[in-house]
Point group: C2
Chain length 348, copies 2
């Protein structure tokens, strides 16, 4: 007698673990989708149960982005790989000047991953999606043998609709623009490394992983134009500004005294031999726009919970094109170079 899928016994979410059958495309895959993914992500598009999701028409031009996530450990102070994956893709769509709407999630699970961990991560993705106001509408699950993964990798992609009719990209910085950062730098990377190395700092360092699309929407509504928006993740503020300097053919001058750094992060970085300028952020933006709009921008950013510490940290120059320089605390100048080697592996 055929047992219809809906009558199969439930997964043991407390003590069970992922096995190879969950990736085989049969009944076990179907059950995992229904009892974990569909349970948390629940929306009309997933209900379509098709290979893809059929979406309503978009109002603005589509923006499309994709990111893989391999952070280690899976859970860390301030977040987990699920929050990171959703916030990361939401932010990548939003920094193109778009409103993120729909996300996909492709999971690569390692045989033996406790179902309880998977369930917690998927719940965190659903929470973060709600926070951002986006829906996770389609996805995929693959399973690899024990020893060929690291618990869980997840790739998220996102679609949004453009909010403004001008270009916002790394090629659009202009001499005279102000450079704003929306809060303290280096929080995420320092939190990961502290957790990984089991460093017991007196003050816990917490990841800033957060979806920033609502703050970006408020910013775009408040100012006539923004030239560049970027979230300084891997390689930190230093790598991102070098990319922008290179893409726009301009110089960047930073002022060290204006860089917001939490004392606990500064202390941890000093201990670890890291420079916060190169450490990943997952809940911060770099905003580059004409200097005359800097105050308007700061006002809009600071009214968002993720932007309370927003500050102007430098300016765009015509001189030394392609180069990022910083006026240091003692008053000298130093080059803020590209990240040449490996700062922190598996940070996002």
């Amino acid at each position: 007698m055929k047992i219809a899928p809906s009558y199969a016994s439930s997964l043991d979410l407390e003590r069970g673990s992922v096995d190879m059958t969950h990736g085989a495309g049969g009944l076990a895959t179907e059950q995992l989708i229904r009892e974990v993914f569909a349970k948390h992500f629940r929306n009309d598009w997933l209900e379509q149960g098709h290979d893809g999701a059929l979406l309503p028409p978009l109002k603005g031009n589509p923006v499309f982005s994709s990111d893989g996530h391999v952070v280690k450990p899976l859970f860390f102070p301030g977040g987990d790989i699920g929050r990171l994956a959703v916030a990361g893709t939401v932010n990548d769509v939003a920094v193109c000047g778009a409103k993120p709407l729909y996300l996909s999630a492709s999971f690569i699970l390692e045989e033996g991953l406790p179902l309880a961990e998977l369930d917690r991560i998927v719940a965190s993705m659903a929470d973060t999606a709600r926070e951002a106001g986006v829906a996770i509408v389609t996805g995929d699950t693959k399973v690899v043998e024990k020893g060929h993964g690291d618990g869980l990798y997840v790739a998220t992609s996102g679609i949004g609709e453009k909010l403004v009719d001008y270009v916002i990209d790394g090629r659009s910085a202009r001499p005279g623009d102000a450079v704003i950062v929306t809060g303290t730098i280096g929080d995420h990377g320092t939190a990961i490394l502290s957790e990984r190395e089991s460093l017991g700092f007196e003050t816990e360092v917490v990841s800033d992983a957060a979806p920033l699309n609502r703050m970006i929407e408020a910013l775009l509504a408040a100012v006539p134009v923004v030239h560049v928006l970027r979230d300084p993740t891997r390689g930190g503020v230093a790598a991102t500004l070098n990319e922008i300097a290179h893409q726009s053919g301009v110089g960047v001058e930073l002022d060290e005294s204006s860089l917001p750094v939490r004392p606990a992060v500064a202390a941890a970085c000093e201990f670890l031999g890291l420079d916060p300028l190169y450490v990943a952020n997952e809940g911060k933006l770099l905003v580059i726009l004409p200097e005359e709009y800097a105050d308007m921008a700061l006002k809009a950013l600071r009214s968002d919970p993720h932007g309370t510490d927003a500050a102007v940290i430098g300016r765009i120059t015509e001189e030394h094109a392609g180069v990022v320089e910083m006026t240091t605390l003692p008053g000298g100048k130093r080059l803020v170079d590209w990240l040449h080697g490996e700062q922190l592996p598996r940070i996002c």
Copy 2:
């Protein structure tokens, strides 16, 4: 002195390998993107060099799909993980009745992967994208330490625009519909397993991995309506038809004598103890539509190089809802059940 990225020495694509710096978000990541990904994928959207791609407006409703790929080995007769990843996502978008347009690719590379292999896989993705007429517009690269991956995993997502104004999905099969398969079944899974087990069959079994969007477009132009389109990948024709029977609340009756199976695949499956009905296809479609349009559909499908062996293999019934039955060669009936365990791991 600062060396601008464009003057850095080139990657050694013959003898070099992936290291952790390629995933760190600094100069090495930038170089890998430029000298491998951008070289092969070259298009205006990648040139934007932003966190996401800004796309032209879509004509029809958007369709969005995503798939992870962990096939082992990376190269196999008839294809490689790159061809599979592009064709797989193109097909997942197309079976929703859409024209696939834009793809993203998120790579998870294992430290030590030869750059020559990466370059070959990326070239294959670019070739397959050209074959399908889609552009790979955005992406991401992460690197995990040796022993935490398996050379290369890649997640692809795709966006398309709906071609027809009616619904095509797994819930739309109706009693009286004909069930068509567009060619021989079980080719892909059998090819992978033969390669993995180093089985030296006399006739080589070759994967059918191919983008089917052009064939689907021709089909949709040729018939007034299609109820269901699916590509029977993991779990094969059996798993896909069970899903459809369940989603639509209908029965499926197959006729074993009409199932197209290559003699070499039949022989290999017999040797391996596999049933071709449960073996993955990566270049075949199941088409379910009113019986009166079956001949029109066959004509359109057979005029495409991927559909020359298209055949009606069964019909949709009101009886035994949720169940797939088959009239066997000797004339009996057998249940074609859900795939309960693991047929073939790491098949796509």
